[in-house]
């Protein structure tokens, strides 16, 4: 989540502010999209082990 500006509410967005805001938003977006799935979430390491236990394709391989 990007930090909010310390200043009071703007009435218009200028190009400089927009550029800074978009760069911050992109950092957040990139962090989220490259984050590894949690172990027990679908697609995670432990989840794959469970699938492997039941012999389901795409299971975790050792």
């Amino acid at each position: 989540m990007p930090e909010k500006r310390a200043t009071s509410k703007h009435t218009v967005v200028n190009r400089k502010d927009a550029r800074e805001a978009l760069r911050n938003a992109k950092k957040v977006y990139d962090r989220k999209s490259t984050a590894k799935p949690k172990a027990w979430k679908k697609g995670g390491h432990e989840w794959s082990k469970v699938l492997g236990h039941f012999g389901v394709a795409g299971a975790h391989k050792k």
Partner: protein, 205 residues
């Protein structure tokens, strides 16, 4: 002085239901290296609304006119005619204006392919496309029209590339707006357009 041959007049509804389409149209216009203009950009209360629209239409070589809201109002049982009127001004200027104005080109959008024949059949022969109120239909419609209209020396991205770029932009917009202490719905036309311009500069194809 903005470049006449790079300005696109958006004659579209401004209601909240249409906002998703308006914002997509602004993006596709800018992603094709043009500038979107509309009457929302001028907040001068002292100026007569139609005068303001004349000025913008005169400064734009291209126009996108959406007639999808030509429907009966539930309360008054009358249609809104602002968009057909502004289309008429655009076509009139193209017909009777000077050499520069005669180079004007426009796209007419509606929600269904042949609905205009019922309420405005005289526009037959113009470039008319339907969007079914869907962003993923509106973007290719505008992109393909621009591809056919713009000089061939200008590079226009594929429709799928523009749609993917638009999705990436929309994913970042809420956080960017929040950073500026706005919500996405609070962004005015000019604020939104500034975000689009800057995002495209930061993310060239």
């Amino acid at each position: 002085m903005p470049d006449y041959s790079k300005q696109v007049f958006l004659n579209v509804p401004f209601d909240t239901r249409y906002r998703k389409l308006l914002q997509a149209l602004v993006f596709v216009v800018h992603d094709c290296s043009l500038t979107a203009r509309c009457s929302l950009e001028k907040e001068d209360g002292g100026q007569i609304r139609l005068e303001k629209i004349y000025e913008i239409i005169e400064s734009c070589r291209y126009g996108i006119h959406d007639l999808s809201r030509t429907t009966l109002d539930a309360g008054h049982r009358l249609p809104r005619f602002n968009m057909p009127l502004e289309l008429g001004v655009f076509l009139g200027l193209r017909r009777f204006g000077g050499p520069r104005q005669r180079r004007k080109s426009c796209l007419i959008l509606d929600k269904d392919p042949y609905r205009y024949q019922i309420f405005c059949s005289d526009i037959a022969g113009q470039d008319i496309r339907s969007h079914a109120n869907r962003v993923d239909t509106a973007i290719p419609a505008v992109r393909n029209w621009l591809r056919a209209t713009l000089p061939s020396s200008l590079r226009v991205k594929s429709a799928s590339s523009i749609i993917n770029r638009y999705i990436a932009f929309r994913r970042q917009l809420p956080n960017a707006a929040r950073y500026e202490d706005f919500t996405v719905t609070e962004l005015t036309f000019l604020d939104y357009r500034t975000f689009v311009e800057v995002w495209i500069e930061e993310n060239p194809a």
